[in-house]
């Protein structure tokens, strides 16, 4: 028995060291991923030299924590180990490594308005191949429903988001993952797919079932194939946009029924770890709610010899200070989510909470309790940010109370937010129900750099765009786009697609206007509430924006001279996508009560007028003999039997 335990321990040690290697590997992978993925924040960047001393023990500690977690794991994993350790001779050198890996993370950014932004990310990596025909049937962390979707529809990349609310760029800055109001779905298919449209149609219906959303309303009238705006975010260099489909449903309303299936995809469900906080009654008591699923293939190692599938589930929520009874400017887990944290998800290899304290190095703006010694720095969206890190895999994080209730208490309300370098606006101009004009404004707030942006507009066919009226002006001058891709609409078949590459001059507003005519729909094409209006999805502005770090011209401080001559440090520009507001446009609407009245009236006329006339004309009239009485009838029968004529 003792020997058995001993070998068990040996195997544990081996496992620990292996997992530690794996951890460092996966960190590197993230780094390389980030080169591909401009959207993802670089939270795992290696620590800066200045902070290295602070960070080093943390890394050590994390390793320690990893061993403990492995020991703590109950149930299946432990049983597996028992089985494997029971026959030590049979174990090969490449022991059954977990080919999948799950990380969870919560980033909290206190906003200057007093609101608070919480962003959850759950990442599952699985080194498997859905595409090569062989059937994948054993699922551990990766949700089976999505795995089957990937293999059945030959999906190369899938991005789906459900958003309730509009991200207020001017108040809140940039989100980590932007998304338009409503539902958005874009998919890259494998180039082996022959009938992309049919596959797309089927896929949307399946996804509609998985996420309990009205994605089945996606059809050819709201699907486009952007030529430049949406590139694959994973590995692979096929960029033929015939395999890309993009659709939005701006009217989709996101609620609990969408959150529940989303939570079910998580390995820990809502039982343990960060997902405990995802309670719908609080998540939907907020100013902004967005949940997304991103699936893409990523490199497993440095040489990219093997690929693995990455499933990234994100949930972004902004809590409003005022509507949460904002007399006291303070936020806690309990106030935000009505829950506190007690443990990490046991299946997660890493579970962390990041608090953005960039504007608060000396705690002059807000106070954070409990305090944490761990700090981390990362360049996020072109800006160097500092984070306090809470590692949930360490029991010390939870303190003596065995629960973590992070508290952020504001001390002062001052402080300026850095103006976002790029933001957009859109509105409908004009009045009346015949024509109108769509105005799209793009702001470049960079003081001295101009940069190009890609504008994507997908307008439903019932707004008939007059492309000859398209104007692009910035600073009062005509701004000629260097690339225009326009696909005219076909009535009831496909929408307008307009893509433009426009150079935004520094510190300017660029206005894109195009006139349209409102179509008169067939009466069956109106929605059940036609006087509400018809939605036009957000336009999408994608751009490589010059980094704020690079914008800092006063770089001579605290830097060695040899390193500070060229202004561009690290990432000189970063990718950014901005969604404008969707539009609500009224179309000429008939009075729908009128057909009803007409039908009622016609029916009455037909029933009463025509009916009685018809009756009169077709009936043959006879004079009916009065009915003989019973006695008379009996008498007649008797008379008949007697052979006497009846009475």
């Amino acid at each position: 028995m003792a020997a058995h335990r001993c070998s068990h321990l040996v195997w544990l040690f081996l496992l620990v060291s292996l997992s530690a290697f794996l951890l460092s590997d996966s960190q590197e992978t993230t780094l390389t991923d980030d080169n591909h993925d401009n959207e993802a924040e670089n939270e795992q960047a290696p620590p800066e030299s200045a902070k290295q001393t602070a960070e080093q023990p943390a890394v050590d500690e994390r390793r320690w924590e990893a061993t403990e977690v492995n020991e703590v794991i109950p149930g299946d994993a432990a049983a597996d180990k028992h089985d494997s350790s029971a026959s030590p001779t049979a174990v090969p050198v490449s022991m059954p490594q977990p080919k999948d890996d799950m990380q969870e993370e919560l980033v909290i950014r206190p906003l200057h308005s007093g609101d608070i932004y919480a962003s959850f990310q759950f990442r599952t990596l699985w080194e498997t191949d859905f595409t090569k025909g062989k059937k994948v049937s054993h699922y551990r962390l990766f949700p089976k429903s999505l795995g089957q979707v990937i293999s059945k529809f030959s999906v190369r990349e899938l991005h789906i988001s459900f958003t309730q609310g509009y991200w207020r760029t001017m108040q809140w800055g940039q989100p980590f993952l932007p998304s338009p109001p409503g539902a958005e779905l874009w998919v890259w298919f494998q180039d082996s797919v022959t009938d992309v449209d049919a596959t797309w149609k089927e896929l949307t219906n399946v996804l509609s079932g998985i996420f309990c959303a009205s994605l089945n309303f996606i059809d050819s009238t709201n699907t486009v194939q952007p030529s430049a705006s949406f590139k694959p975010l994973g590995i692979g260099n096929v960029t033929d946009h015939r395999f890309l489909r993009y659709a939005t449903l701006p009217r989709e309303i996101v609620c609990t029924e969408n959150l529940t299936p989303w939570k079910k995809l998580l390995p820990c469900g809502s039982k343990a770890g960060l997902s405990v906080l995802l309670k719908s009654e609080k998540l939907f008591h907020s100013s902004f709610h967005s949940q997304a699923v991103h699936i893409r293939p990523v490199c497993q190692d440095w040489q990219c010899k093997t690929t693995s599938w990455e499933l990234r589930q994100t949930l972004n929520v902004v809590f409003d200070l005022h509507t949460s009874g904002g007399a006291k400017r303070e936020w806690s887990f309990f106030k935000m989510f009505s829950r506190t944290l007690t443990e990490a998800c046991p299946l997660a290899s890493s579970s962390k909470i990041f608090i953005d304290i960039t504007d608060n190095p000396q705690e002059e703006q807000f106070e954070l309790s409990p305090a944490t010694p761990l700090l981390s720095q990362a360049v996020v969206l072109g800006d160097r940010r500092t984070f306090s890190v809470y590692d949930l895999t360490q029991p010390i994080t939870f303190g003596t109370m065995r629960s973590l209730n992070l508290l952020i208490r504001w001390k002062s309300t001052e402080g300026d937010m850095l103006r976002p370098l790029l933001h957009g606006e859109r509105y409908v101009a004009g009045y009346g129900l015949q024509t109108g004009e769509i105005h799209t404004l793009m702001y470049n707030n960079h003081p001295f750099r101009s940069f190009p942006v890609l504008l994507l507009d997908s307008v439903p066919w019932y707004l008939r765009l007059y492309v000859h009226t398209l104007t692009v002006t910035s600073k009062g001058k005509d701004n000629k786009p260097s690339y225009i891709h326009y696909q005219p609409s076909k009535d009831r078949v496909r929408p307008h697609l307009l893509e433009m590459l426009v150079q935004l001059p520094p510190h300017s507003v660029t206005e894109v206007t195009v006139q349209f005519e409102r179509a008169l729909l067939k009466w069956t094409e109106y929605t059940p509430d036609p006087n509400h209006g018809f939605y036009v999805g957000s336009s999408i502005i994608s751009s490589l924006v010059p980094s704020t770090v690079a914008m800092d011209t006063n770089i001579t401080q605290e830097q060695p001279l040899f390193s500070s001559f060229f202004p561009c440090k690290e990432e000189s520009s970063y990718f950014m996508r901005v969604y404008t507001e969707p539009l609500l446009v009224n179309l000429p609407t008939p009075d729908f009560s009128m057909p009803y009245n007409v039908i009622c009236l016609t029916c009455t006329v037909v029933a009463v007028g025509y009916g009685s006339l018809y009756n009169l004309l077709t009936r043959s009239f006879q004079i009916e003999e009065p009915n003989p009485g019973l006695a008379k009838r009996i008498a007649n029968i008797i008379r008949k039997m007697r052979g006497v004529p009846p009475l």
């Binding site: 001017m170 902004f288 709610h289 200070l321 509105y427 006087n531």
Partner: protein
């Protein structure tokens, strides 16, 4: 020859129906008289309560769901209003910085818009000429809403001590609304300077249109398509009643459900509510009760006919935004209402509007209101106009028959020769000349104001108004000038053709006007239809000329002014009335150039020339 044939067949038909001469032609005059009086009687009957419908909420989204009003802080709103007044006095206008700061402190996204406008001539009522101002508005962003829909609450920043309480209440409501989670539409709190001009600038900026050539800076923040708007006017801490103003630009009215909503909440909260400043009376069967209803309805008709916006809400209607102005009135009644109650009323209304799924469209857009609880829909009031309009058609028919009839036996051959050539020229010349006069009436007053000021000791405004009156009067000398242009003598057939054209023209004009703005169409029909019906060259000249002038559009306006004052229980002497009349003319011209009101061009370019045609017929030689 073709029309003649048709005419004869038509008259033949008429003759078959009647015994010999045709019933319609023979009894034309009595039928017309009957129609006229029937029309007037029908109209007067509209105010009689048993003939009208009770108002009811058509919109389901606003009807069944009851909301709870909890606005607590009326006193604080008044304090804010006093603070606003102090800042207003200190700055001597709109305290922009203070408003921006206050709105920001309440958690709104705040934006400003500056505008400037030079009036075509000085507005003596409001003492303004070169207008420069700033609008301040704060947007309450609805949580989890994608900025597609918005509601507007506005309060004008008026000069003097007016409307401070309205601004205070607006800010109080903004503060209270901001802490609620249930908003589904953005709410825009707007404080506009220079009342309608500021509102016009803001609306044009919001919709990026420019209909009147005003200068404004573009708006920075928007909330999507505006579903409904209320404008608030409140000048005292306590009020006795709330008045709702519905009449907007060009006689447009908001959907009746908006008025219903206001009435429903007044009933629920227990606030006295009025329309046209008249309380509703329960004794509809008494004479005084009926006359109250008639007065209320007549006030609405006169206001609607004027085509001017009667509150800041009036300009929203052009953009298909349902809007009304709510005015707090403090009279000498016992029953007082405090600001908290008004706040609760507004909160309830906004919560209901917030529940809307679609734009307000279920109820009527065309209606008259003899009281807040009763309304007359378009189907009920249109027959009154129809009875007047049918007179014109009957006269036209009569003329047509007369024209197509064979020459009377008593005349000899000379007449025949004359009749064969009524001449296009004899019809066209008066038409063109009278329209040119109309164009002069439209163009000259503003164009020649400088010249008039140079040569006469008058102010610009007086110059414009007096020029307008002068041109109008000069038009009366037209027949002589017309005849000078005409080659020969006017013929009997000539005036008939001209009158036929004029009558049909008037019928079309009035019909179109009544469809857009019933009140204007009806008032014009009341005065012009008799003229059109009786004028021939053979009636006594002097008396007819007098009647014609009395019934001309300008005199109708004069009577309307006196009538309006009478209805408002503010009778004026003739002297004051005359001054008022002059200022009404200048206001009409200003409304046209500032907000695009169509009444002045309609009168000047179409109605007045049409009336001149009848004047021409009277003096036909």
């Amino acid at each position: 020859m073709k029309p003649r044939d048709e005419g004869s067949s038509l008259s033949g038909l008429l003759r078959y129906r009647g015994q010999q001469d045709g019933l319609l032609t023979r009894l034309n005059a009595p039928i017309c008289a009957v129609c006229y009086f029937a029309g007037v009687a029908w109209f007067m009957g509209l105010a009689f309560e048993p003939f009208t419908l009770r108002t009811y909420m058509s919109e389901n989204a606003m009807g069944s769901t009851m909301v709870e009003e909890r606005f607590p802080s009326g006193e604080r709103a008044l304090a804010t209003g006093r603070e606003f007044a102090a800042h207003k006095k200190r700055v001597g206008g709109m305290p922009v910085d203070w408003l921006v700061k206050t709105m920001q402190a309440r958690g709104l996204e705040v934006f400003t818009q500056s505008f400037s406008r030079t009036l075509p001539f000085p507005d003596e009522n409001k003492e303004r000429f070169m207008v420069k101002g700033t609008n301040v508005y704060g947007i309450l962003r609805a949580p989890r809403a994608p900025r597609t829909e918005a509601l507007v609450l506005s309060a004008p920043c008026s000069p003097g001590d007016n409307n401070n309480q309205a601004v205070g209440l607006l800010l109080g409501l903004a503060h209270y609304f901001r802490n609620q989670i249930f908003w589904a539409k953005d709410i825009i709190f707007l404080v506009n300077e220079h009342d309608l001009i500021g509102m016009q600038a803001w609306l044009e900026g919001y919709h990026h249109t420019n209909t009147t050539g005003m200068d404004w800076s573009p708006l920075q923040g928007r909330g999507g398509s505006i579903q409904a708007a209320l404008s608030l006017e409140l000048s005292s801490d306590v009020i006795t009643s709330l008045d709702i103003v519905l009449e907007g630009l060009n006689g447009q009215l908001p959907n009746l459900d908006l008025a219903n909503l206001f009435y429903a909440f007044c009933q629920k909260i227990g606030v006295l509510c009025t329309i046209q400043g008249k309380l509703q009376r329960s004794d509809w069967d008494s004479v005084s009760g009926y006359s109250q209803a008639v007065q209320t309805m007549m006030l609405m008709v006169l206001k609607q006919a004027s085509g001017r916006p009667w509150g800041d809400h009036g300009l929203f209607l052009r953009y298909h935004i349902e809007a009304a102005t709510i005015t707090g009135i403090n009279s000498f009644r016992q029953y007082k209402t405090d600001t908290t109650t008004i706040g609760r009323l507004l909160e309830g209304m906004y919560r209901k509007l917030n529940n809307l799924l679609e734009r307000l469209h279920q109820s009527y857009f065309f209606y008259l209101m003899p009281s807040l609880s009763h309304f007359v829909s378009i189907g009920y009031y249109m027959p009154a106009f129809g009875l007047l309009a049918v007179i014109l058609l009957l006269r036209a028919l009569d003329l047509w028959v007369q024209l197509s009839a064979p020459p009377p036996r008593t005349e000899d051959g000379i007449v025949d020769v004359e009749q064969s050539s009524p001449g296009l020229l004899s019809v066209l010349t008066p038409l063109v000349i009278s329209h040119l006069t109309g164009a002069a009436l439209y163009m000259l007053p503003i164009r020649f104001q400088d010249m008039a000021v140079e040569h006469f000791p008058v102010s610009e405004t007086e110059a414009v108004v007096l020029t307008a009156i002068a041109v109008y009067t000069a038009g009366l000398a037209l027949p002589h000038n017309t005849h000078r242009l005409l080659s020969g003598e006017g013929t009997e057939q000539g005036w008939r053709v001209l009158k036929l054209v004029a009558v049909l023209y008037l019928a079309v004009l009035l019909g179109c006007t009544a469809l857009i703005n019933f009140s204007l169409g009806f008032i014009l029909a009341l005065s012009l239809v008799p003229v059109a019906a009786f004028v021939t060259p053979h009636v006594p000249k002097v008396l007819s000329a007098f009647v014609l002038v009395i019934l001309s559009p300008a005199c109708t306006l004069l009577f309307s002014v006196f009538f309006f004052q009478e209805l408002q229980e503010m009778p004026v002497s003739f002297q004051d009335g005359w001054l008022l009349y002059l200022s009404v003319i200048s206001q009409g011209i200003l409304d046209h150039s500032l907000y695009g009101s169509l009444v002045y061009p309609l009168i000047a370019l179409l109605i007045y020339p049409c009336w001149l045609l009848f004047w021409n017929i009277l003096f036909w030689k």
